[in-house]
């Protein structure tokens, strides 16, 4: 009611008029998707600004080019439209698209390496399944195969493996947050990437933590399931980002990078197996855990290569970060409750060594996939 009156006063009395200095409106354009095909270049643009943005002209590589905007017309705040530009792009080369607005402002978008976007439809989606499985499910399965080894270790060995799990999750947390902030930062400003990521990660952590603690601190299979879920959410975001870059046509570098990524993810499987050492789960349980942790990579690839905005990828990463934080807390609790001394176990050499080993393994294997 009070707010309604305040808004009415703002509109009627126009108390802001003394501040109207005739300056041009603030404009912003963000590219959310880039599709290259035989018709040319297609960009999905999202507007943000104090007034609707009118895209008056488009330049490609410093040449004015004919374009069609769909839907046409001014773009109000947060509205999106496709720009279809019949430009003869060149495979493997860089192109720069510049949108000039009615105020003369210019927004530049780079296509670093032009590669034809994969066509939509069922066949390409099916083609992505083995790829997603290779980067998501296969490494987790390989990691889970270490289970007999873990079972064979003694008490100190278990401490080491659990601490290592926390170490690898810690690395994933940092990596996921970094990806979330980076992706969120590139999404339209109105989505407030940084704030959204922090809020969603915190919310995701609290919800999962509350659910997980209903029957006391999780252990054994339940804990393993949460670890698999956290890793799965991470892989969902990763898959979305990969699918997006896939669609945008990033350059091919080689099979060894796929292998590097797979190797990187093997450690995740070991982490999932760790809390199960004192149980004897069936093969079906292992299969379920592997799917939970790995299959989201496939879904991510699909989502990423279909219609989506950067904000959704950031959102998936943020949910993943919250989930990872939850399992870090729970695995830590599990490790501490296995000892009478509680948290003091953290100062034992197996724990410190394991934690450091987890971080180090993830860091070193990540070197294979980052340049």
């Amino acid at each position: 009611m009070g707010l309604g009156l305040a808004i009415a006063w703002l509109v009627i009395a126009d108390p802001l008029s003394p501040f109207n200095n005739g300056a041009p409106p603030i404009e912003n354009l963000t590219v959310e998707r880039t599709v290259l095909d035989s018709d040319g270049i297609h960009l999905k643009i999202r507007a943000g600004g104090s007034e609707p943005v009118v895209i008056a002209q488009v330049q490609v590589d410093d040449a004015y080019w004919r374009f069609v905007q769909n839907p046409p017309g001014p773009l109000p705040r947060l509205a999106a439209a496709w720009l279809d530009i019949p430009y003869p792009w060149v495979h493997g080369e860089t192109h720069v698209v510049k949108a000039v607005t009615s105020t003369g402002a210019a927004f530049t978008f780079e296509i670093p390496v032009a590669v034809a976007s994969p066509p939509g439809g069922l066949r390409p989606m099916l083609a992505q399944v083995p790829l997603g499985a290779f980067v998501g499910i296969v490494p987790v399965v390989i990691g889970l195969a270490f289970y007999p080894l873990i079972r064979g270790t003694g008490r100190r060995g278990m401490d080491f493996v659990l601490a290592m799990t926390i170490g690898l999750l810690g690395f994933l947390l940092v990596d996921t947050l970094a990806e979330a902030f980076e992706t969120g930062g590139r999404s339209a400003p109105a989505f407030q990437g940084t704030a959204m990521v922090v809020l969603v990660a915190a919310l995701s952590f609290l919800v999962l933590f509350a659910i997980g603690r209903r029957g006391g601190a999780p252990t054994g299979l339940v804990l393993a399931t949460y670890i698999a879920l956290g890793i799965g959410l991470h892989n969902l975001g990763e898959g979305m980002a990969i699918g997006a870059a896939f669609t945008a046509g990033a350059a091919g570098l080689g099979t060894f990078l796929v292998l590097g990524f797979a190797l990187h993810n093997v450690t995740e499987g070991i982490g999932i197996a760790a809390p199960l050492a004192e149980r004897r789960p069936s093969l079906i349980v292992f299969a379920g855990l592997a799917l939970l942790a790995g299959a989201p990579a496939v879904f991510g690839l699909w989502l990423g290569s279909l219609a989506y905005g950067l904000q959704w990828t950031a959102l998936a990463f943020a949910v993943g970060a919250g989930a990872i934080l939850q399992v870090i807390v729970e695995v830590g609790t599990y490790l501490a409750t296995r000892h009478e001394g509680g948290g003091a176990v953290w100062l034992s050499s197996p724990a410190i060594g394991g934690f450091a080993a987890g971080l180090a393994i993830m860091y070193v294997t990540a070197m294979l996939v980052k340049i």
Binding site: V100, Q128, L257, F261, V369
Partner: protein
């Protein structure tokens, strides 16, 4: 390899690339057609009758839409031969006095279809009026500054220091007036522009125009026919088809790079509206370069060669039989050619800096038997 990619390479973009490669190995033909985007597309023009005046010569490489010339208040095609010869009277000593009235005005103009630019103008147009006089005339230019900043009119010509139109010598503050008086010397193709500070901003905001001084045939007895052909209104001059082309550009986002290149302001205007010329009559272009930020500009004529008179201050060409000339900032000259022996049809002219051409500085001559 690193330079191939932007600075924005991350794990995902690399992995996605490796998926292209790895995927081929993994799933064979299923992923192969996605990986092999080798075909360079040649998009077909889907104009759908977008502009009635379009021609196939530019395909899709053109601005979209047309500028509202009526709202701008000037038409680049009409500017081509819109000579302002001033109010003419005779001084007691028998000399001709030409009086001009020029005002400086702030005005938003549409510099490309749909793109507004907060210009500073002479007489509400960019380029400003083409002032044309005869060698030796007395000139009187009443300059009134209705703009929001101090402005001047600095003529490229011969005059006294007091008349130079620079800060401190002939500058008009907003609301003020200054009267420039000097003789029209030397004959040639010249320009005037605002010389207030900062100079670069005052020029690229639109404050410039052509200043043409025709030779007085009586002063050049040995080359009288040539001089007469340059003298506006003479019988010899009427044979010629004369155009003034001011090569300019606009930095619409003020990042010291031009978004728009053109002659007479509107990019691609003469692609949409070719300049009709009669095959049997010679053509003379008064070419002026006022482009800011880029060091040089150029003029290239298709399928023909021309004679060039640098600064227009000679009656014999300074360059003969060339098809491309370049001008630095403030340089200008006269171009003379004929399509008399050519087929009828459309012949292109443009800056031979391809970037300028593709950003609007290109046009067409339509060579016809007779201009209707």
């Amino acid at each position: 390899m690193g330079g191939w990619f932007g600075s924005r390479l991350s794990r995902r973009s690399l992995v996605s690339g490796s998926i292209l490669a790895g995927g081929t190995a993994l799933v064979g033909s299923a992923a192969r057609h996605a990986a092999q985007g080798q075909t360079v597309p040649h998009p077909t023009a889907h104009d759908g009758g977008h502009d009635a005046g379009d021609h196939s010569t530019h395909g899709n490489m053109i601005t979209v839409g047309d500028v509202d010339l009526a709202r701008n208040g000037f038409d680049p095609s009409k500017l081509l031969s819109d000579w302002d010869t001033g109010a003419v009277s005779t001084l007691p000593d028998g000399r001709t006095l030409r009086s001009f009235e020029i005002t400086a005005e702030d005005k938003a103009i549409e510099v490309a279809p749909g793109v507004s630019f907060p210009a500073w103008t002479f007489n509400g147009r960019v380029p400003g009026p083409t002032l044309r006089a005869t060698e030796g005339d007395r000139l009187r230019i009443v300059f009134r500054n209705y703009g929001s900043h101090p402005h001047t009119m600095h003529f490229h010509g011969i005059h006294s220091a007091r008349m130079d139109g620079v800060p401190g010598q002939g500058q008009a503050m907003p609301g003020e007036e200054f009267i420039y008086e000097f003789d029209a010397l030397p004959f040639g193709c010249h320009l005037y522009h605002c010389h207030a500070q900062p100079l670069k901003r005052h020029i690229h905001k639109g404050m410039y125009g052509a200043f043409i001084v025709d030779p007085d045939p009586s002063r050049h007895p040995e080359q009288e026919p040539v001089a007469r052909s340059r003298l506006l209104g003479s019988a010899e001059n009427r044979r010629w088809q004369e155009f003034v082309m001011v090569m300019n550009g606009f930095d619409t986002n003020f990042d010291s790079e031009n978004e728009v290149y053109a002659v007479n302001t509107v990019p691609h205007h003469f692609m949409r509206h070719p300049i009709s010329i009669e095959r049997g009559r010679p053509v003379r272009i008064y070419l002026v370069n006022v482009l800011e930020f880029d060091l040089i500009n150029s003029f290239h004529l298709h399928a023909n060669f021309f004679d060039y008179f640098d600064h227009g201050t000679t009656l014999a060409p300074t360059l003969r039989t060339v098809d491309t000339i370049m001008q630095c900032q403030g340089q200008r000259g006269i171009i003379e050619f004929s399509y008399g022996e050519h087929e009828l049809g459309q012949y292109m002219f443009h800056a031979h800096q391809s970037e300028f051409a593709e950003l609007g500085w290109m046009g067409m001559f339509d060579v016809v038997e007779a201009v209707s």
